[in-house]
């Protein structure tokens, strides 16, 4: 973990007693954790509960987190363990295709085991996805390239700058403009 890493910065803050920083770890990872849980937990109401349990557990174990692996790998392991505990408590067997924590960063979520959701919430999340994807499609080519390289390929600004042959500051600005444009469409959808 390097010092630029947001997770690293956040964990340092929390370990120094700034509890509020934990909300950012939750906000950052809650959807990914919930997504992992859909492979184990069938009911959407339970997914929210188990996700919550995962983060409480993370919070409790955080003092012992050494940072010798990426935070996400650690989080992934806790998520899978919590899911297995949940299944045991539900006296159901975990799915046969167990995914190892090592595969955490590369695992491609399958659509086969999506959770049970209420019809209206399905409609809502589909609407959110549709709006995001459509806005990305309509972005100017250079903005689209920048955000895609960042979000899908996980490249750093430096790497993107080399590929796109432009200054790092430009990459930074393009990614922000892409996010800002999508956010303008997204924010009203999420307002209750």
């Amino acid at each position: 973990m390097n010092e630029r890493d947001l997770d690293f910065q956040l964990i340092q803050r929390i370990q120094n007693g700034e509890q509020q920083a934990f909300t950012l770890l939750v906000r950052k990872y809650q959807n990914r954790v919930a997504n992992i849980l859909t492979r184990y937990v069938r009911s959407s109401g339970d997914i929210a509960d188990v996700t919550q349990e995962v983060f409480i557990k993370v919070h409790k174990s955080l003092p012992s987190f050494r940072g010798d692996s990426a935070f996400y790998t650690w989080l992934y392991r806790i998520t899978v363990n919590t899911a297995k505990n949940y299944l045991t408590s539900q006296s159901r067997r975990p799915p046969a295709s167990d995914i190892d924590a090592m595969e955490a960063d590369s695992y491609d979520g399958s659509d086969a085991l999506k959770s049970v959701e209420s019809p209206e919430s399905i409609m809502r999340s589909e609407e959110i996805k549709r709006v995001i994807m459509e806005t990305i499609d309509r972005l100017p080519a250079e903005l689209k390239a920048a955000i895609t390289l960042r979000e899908l390929e996980g490249m750093s600004y430096d790497e993107i700058a080399k590929i796109e042959d432009c200054p790092i500051g430009t990459v930074r600005s393009r990614i922000f403009r892409a996010r800002d444009a999508i956010d303008k469409q997204l924010a009203p959808l999420l307002e209750e």
């Binding site: 069938r42 009911s43 999506k114 959770s115 049970v116 959701e117 209420s118 019809p119 209206e120 409609m123």
Partner: protein
């Protein structure tokens, strides 16, 4: 009842209903002839009702409707369609907390924001107009007269109003409005014996389509929430209490002892009555409520909850029936002495 007297009843009722509208109709042989003539050319009241009933089951439609009772309006939506040869219906409340249900292939799933969703096995269609859509109108002739009231416009559609007049005071009367084109129900008024509308369902928008809503088909393929099994009631242990009086058309369709799972697992003796349109539940239990008077009543729209105390025994009657019926049913409850 012979043909002639039934006929006179209908004519009399028509006149009764038309008179307030100011139509001067002479009571003589001519008006009888007029009605007879109409009966042979256009569908009769009962035929309209039967058409409505069929459409409600087989058509693909979406309705937005309001339920109104005691000055309170509740907007709701129903999407109905035939998916792979089976009825599917999706229902939701449009205001407030998200509450939805999906019924398909013998199962109904309930979803409510902030609570775990679940499924129960049920082939019972209990959607908005289901009670009038499932009614056996031929059999119902013993309890109701069916009369065409006239035509009107509901939800932008030409519709026909049919009144189901109760032959006694033990049940409510209804006015059913059906779309002339699709025959689907558009409005249902529940009326007490003083001709006051106690509850009303009013469709605001009706959309009938050739094929079912694709979204509905998609919903039926989604994984359902966990099925919850209802605890078996003790069937060998039927209620020790019996009704000694039933209004015409009602019969006992269930009689058991079970527990109120929503309330401390309290054991109750239970009798369920049915007349094809409404159901009435009678609960006999230990005295639990503290009442100042020997009886107590809660009424909301057409629904009544009537409580009576008899010593240490408490009788509760619940259903969409007039108060007098609930009262008489409660009074009729007797303990069956075990003599075998």
């Amino acid at each position: 009842m012979n043909r002639h007297s039934l006929f006179s009843t209908i004519v009399a009722s028509v006149l009764l209903l038309l008179t307030p509208l100011g139509n001067a109709i002479e009571v003589d042989g001519n008006s009888k002839e007029l009605v007879v003539k109409e009966e042979s050319t256009i569908p009769s009241a009962i035929e309209y009702l039967q058409l409505m009933q069929k459409s409600y089951q087989i058509e693909n439609y979406e309705i937005l409707y309001l339920s109104s009772l005691q000055k309170q309006l509740e907007p709701m939506q129903l999407i109905h369609g035939i998916v792979d040869g089976e009825e599917a219906s999706y229902f939701r409340y449009l205001n407030g907390v998200i509450r939805e249900s999906l019924q398909y292939a013998g199962k109904i799933s309930y979803f409510e924001q902030g609570r775990p969703a679940y499924t129960i096995e049920s082939g019972q269609n209990r959607s908005v107009f289901a009670n009038i859509a499932n009614f056996d109108y031929v059999k119902g002739k013993q309890s109701y007269d069916y009369v065409i009231l006239g035509k009107g416009r509901i939800a932008g559609k030409q519709s026909i109003a049919i009144r189901m007049i109760s032959k006694d005071d033990y049940r409510y009367s209804y006015v059913v409005w059906c779309d002339l084109q699709s025959a689907l129900p558009l409005r249902l008024d529940t009326i007490n014996k003083s001709n006051v509308v106690v509850e009303q369902i009013m469709v605001m928008s009706l959309n009938v389509s050739e094929s079912s809503n694709p979204w509905l088909a998609k919903l039926t393929t989604n994984a359902l929430p966990e099925t919850v099994h209802i605890p078996e009631s003790t069937t060998d242990n039927s209620s020790q209490w019996k009704t000694t009086w039933l209004p015409t058309g009602f019969s006992v369709i269930k009689d058991d002892q079970h527990r109120l799972v929503m309330h401390e697992n309290e054991p109750v003796s239970y009798i369920l009555l049915d007349d094809g349109i409404v159901n009435v539940s009678i609960y006999i239990s230990e005295k639990k409520l503290t009442l100042e008077e020997p009886q107590k009543l809660i009424r909301r729209g057409a629904t009544v909850l009537y409580t009576e105390h008899r010593g240490e025994v408490e009788i509760n009657v619940v259903g969409d029936i007039p108060v007098a019926t609930a009262q008489r049913l409660a009074e009729s409850i007797k303990l069956v002495t075990d003599d075998h």
